[in-house]
């Protein structure tokens, strides 16, 4: 028998993650976003009281990938469903995980009013500027000129309007305690994104109102580019259109070191 130095743990699956293999495409950033949420729930010790609300969209099976209680909402209605849960179980940690079609198109009313009510929930908003699950149609966040299967000539703003900047809009709500846009296109930004997710859950745990983190995300499959090109697209095309930043941070959260 040989002796060795005690092992240093450098990586392990978060307890809040299940052992399932995700169905996401290669190069998709959903997996990263899921992992950040799971790590934060672990670090804050929230797993056993967390209830997630999955959307309709690529993350429809999110409940399979987390090792915690989950419900599955109708398209766009996750904030309403989360409201119902949080109102009858105020001690639990309730979060939604939504894409841009779900949150910013069909679910616009629900997200706006959840924020306006100061609903004490956390929203993880993956913005990849496209409908992924249905195969790459134009989304409310699709960039001007961007080609999708339903804007084959590129998004014509004269006909199809302009992309919606959700974070800027929600930051105007009195009921919002924390609204931040982060990006998942490189490790430095991923670290920042995790801090934002942490603060968004801290906002809920402290009862400071509605919290949302918008995560600029990639969709190499439907953008029809390689994973690396997709990350570059985020950095070069999406970040200018959707500036990163803290749009609203409750003073109590601003003081917080995470």
């Amino acid at each position: 028998m040989t002796t060795s130095q005690p092992a240093t743990l450098v990586y392990q699956r978060p307890t809040s993650f299940s052992e399932a293999t995700t169905h996401y495409c290669p190069g998709c950033t959903h997996g990263i976003a899921h992992r950040l949420v799971a790590e934060v729930l672990d670090e804050m010790g929230l797993r056993e009281k967390a209830i997630g609300v999955a959307p309709v969209g690529c993350a429809v099976f999110a409940y399979n990938y987390f090792n915690l209680d989950f419900v599955e909402a109708a398209h766009g209605r996750a904030p309403a469903m989360a409201t119902g849960i949080k109102r009858v179980l105020p001690e639990n940690t309730v979060f939604t995980y939504q894409g841009d079609g779900d949150l910013a198109s069909i679910g616009m009313a629900e997200i706006m009013h959840a924020a306006a009510r100061g609903e004490n929930i956390t929203v993880i908003f993956a913005n990849n500027a496209i409908y992924g699950m249905t195969g790459g149609q134009m989304a409310p966040t699709t960039l001007p000129g961007m080609k999708t299967t339903s804007s084959p000539y590129g998004r014509d703003v004269e006909l199809a309007g302009y992309p919606i900047r959700v974070s800027e809009m929600l930051a105007t709500m009195e009921g919002a305690g924390y609204v931040v846009r982060a990006s998942l296109h490189d490790p430095a930004h991923i670290r920042k994104a995790k801090k934002a997710i942490r603060r968004a859950f801290e906002t809920q745990e402290r009862g400071l109102g509605f919290a949302m983190v918008e995560l600029l995300s990639s969709c190499p499959t439907n953008w029809k580019v390689t994973p690396n090109e997709a990350l570059e697209f985020i950095a070069k095309q999406m970040v200018p259109a959707f500036p990163l930043g803290d749009f609203k941070v409750h003073p109590e959260i601003a003081k917080l070191r995470v």
């Binding site: 299940s18 797993r47 056993e48 009281k49 967390a50 209830i51 609300v53 999955a54 429809v60 099976f61 409940y63 399979n64 987390f66 090792n67 915690l68 209680d69 989950f70 419900v71 599955e72 909402a73 109708a74 209605r77 309403a80 469903m81 989360a82 409201t83 119902g84 849960i85 109102r87 009858v88 179980l89 639990n92 940690t93 009313a109 629900e110 706006m112 009013h113 009510r117």
Partner: protein, 374 residues
Amino acid sequence: MSKQLLKGNEAFAEAAIRAGCEGFFGYPITPSTEFLEYMSRRMPELGRAFVQAESEVAAINMVYGAACTGKRVMTASSSPGISLMMEGISYIAGTEVPAVIVNVMRGGPGLGNIAPSQGDYYQMVKGGGHGDYFPIVLAPASVQEAIDYISLAFDLADKYRSIVHVVVDGNMGQMMEPAELPPMRPLPKTAPDWAVSGAKGRPPRALSSIYINPYDEEITNLRLLKRWLEIEKNEVRYAEIEMEDAEYAVIGFGTAGRVASSAVRAARQEGIKVGLFRPITLAPFPKQRLKEIARQVKRILVVEMNSGMMLDDVTAVVQGRVPVEFYGRMGGVTPFPDEILGEIRRVASNAAPVNGNAREEWIQRLETIIGGQA
């Protein structure tokens, strides 16, 4: 507790509270708004959840979320609002979580009007939302009965993890009648074993209406269907007046049934051997008892505040054994007892079989009435 004079919508809301409702989510709409207003006062007093949602779509999804915690939760609305809720109702059915939905029906289709109607029969009884599911539908006919059946609605919803619709119309929502409220039921201390509550000391639970593999969905459909057959066996409810020796039966539910009861009593005074059969569970429909009635009476008159929707269910059960006739008012018009009395007299004096379609014959009679009113 003794009888009090209670306003329909407010009494229904208090009945729900006393049955243990811990969450109400709604949106204002006439003629059910007093339900929401009452809840907005009472629920916070009791430390229970009340949200005036941004739409009926949001309201039903709040109900959906809260229902996933296993607590007794509900909404109340009126016809156009219920249409908007149909998406969420289907999800609730598919997720097999209990919820109580009160529909204070009004005239339609479309924006229609705010007058009392029974035009949502198909939407309520036949499902309304997409997919294969079977809601329980209760149709009380007085403030007291509504109080009692709203309590029962929560029990049935829990027992069968089912949607229970309580359908009344604007008359019942707005009227005052003496009624007695039940005592406040204590709230349960534990959640059911399927509910989400945080995965503490147990494997996680996922509540969803998605079964991406058609075979899994089929198994779910079968489970829902078998549960429905159980409900059909156990939960049929109806009321009868003067049916023992009846030679003619009037069949109506809710307000139409109640108005018909006045006409039946008046007809008995005239010596006509007529009785009233009033289904209380529109779903499950009281088929067995109706079959017996079809063997007992010479003729049946169905009375509704719609274009003859329950008529189709009655006809399907009676299967031509006796003639079935129809009298309805639509669009938010409530029939008066004298109209139904006239119909009872006609049905009882006419020994000849009705030729063909009850609905077509009724349209001809109705057009004379409407023509006279216009």
